[in-house]
Amino acid sequence: EDQVTQSPEALRLQEGESSSLNCSYTVSGLRGLFWYRQDPGKGPEFLFTLYSAGEEKEKERLKATLTKKESFLHITAPKPEDSATYLCAVRHKETSGSRLTFGEGTQLTVNP
């Protein structure tokens, strides 16, 4: 059974204080690791998909990396508007499309 564990559960940063969120996964064949941002009461907003170990992707202050066992979401010089819950999800190699297994998320708060 696919499993995704995110840490920490909650993270509080000062504006400009860089940090990383962790996503550890167990899946017998990965067909994509996904990062989403979710604001309260809203649907998840797509950020990145990573497909193979060593792959990296960047978007503004966010950078996602992937190894064979975990993924990191690095946040550089965060701003208050980066406050949200960040969700990690995996897609098993024998599935396709939008069937994903999610972690519980990391709630990020960035104080001004």
Binding site: Y36, G43, F46, T95, S96, G97, R99, L100, F102, G103
Partner: protein
């Protein structure tokens, strides 16, 4: 371009009632999945549909059912509602059968069972 659209946005139902939630995928996407997200937790997979056929089912009771229409829109039905069914219900759409494809979510339907 329109993203994934869900309706209604909010819904209040009484225990024992039935509810139908609706989802329209991104144009060109033929796969739709449904998720339940309880407050403070990650989304849990309920169903996946492709070309009007069920392609996967999560660990949910038979009170939950879904279908997909020829235009690839989808409905999620929940019968005999329980208080524990209160959650944000999310719909995701994507391409299907192609290895590297993203999955995009709608804004969700907030269901409250009283």
């Amino acid at each position: 371009d329109a993203g994934v659209t869900q309706s209604p946005t909010h819904l209040i139902k009484t225990r024992g009632q039935q509810v139908t939630l609706r989802c329209s995928p991104i144009s060109g996407h033929k796969s739709v999945s449904w998720y339940q997200q309880v407050l403070g937790q990650g989304p849990q997979f309920i169903f996946q549909y492709y070309e009007k056929e069920e392609r996967g089912r999560g660990n949910f009771p038979d009170r939950f059912s879904a279908r997909q229409f020829p235009n690839y829109s989808s409905e999620l039905n929940v019968n005999a509602l329980l208080l524990g069914d209160s959650a944000l219900y999310l719909c995701a759409s994507s391409l299907f059968g192609q290895g590297n494809t993203e999955a995009f979510f709608g804004q969700g339907t907030r269901l409250t069972v009283v």
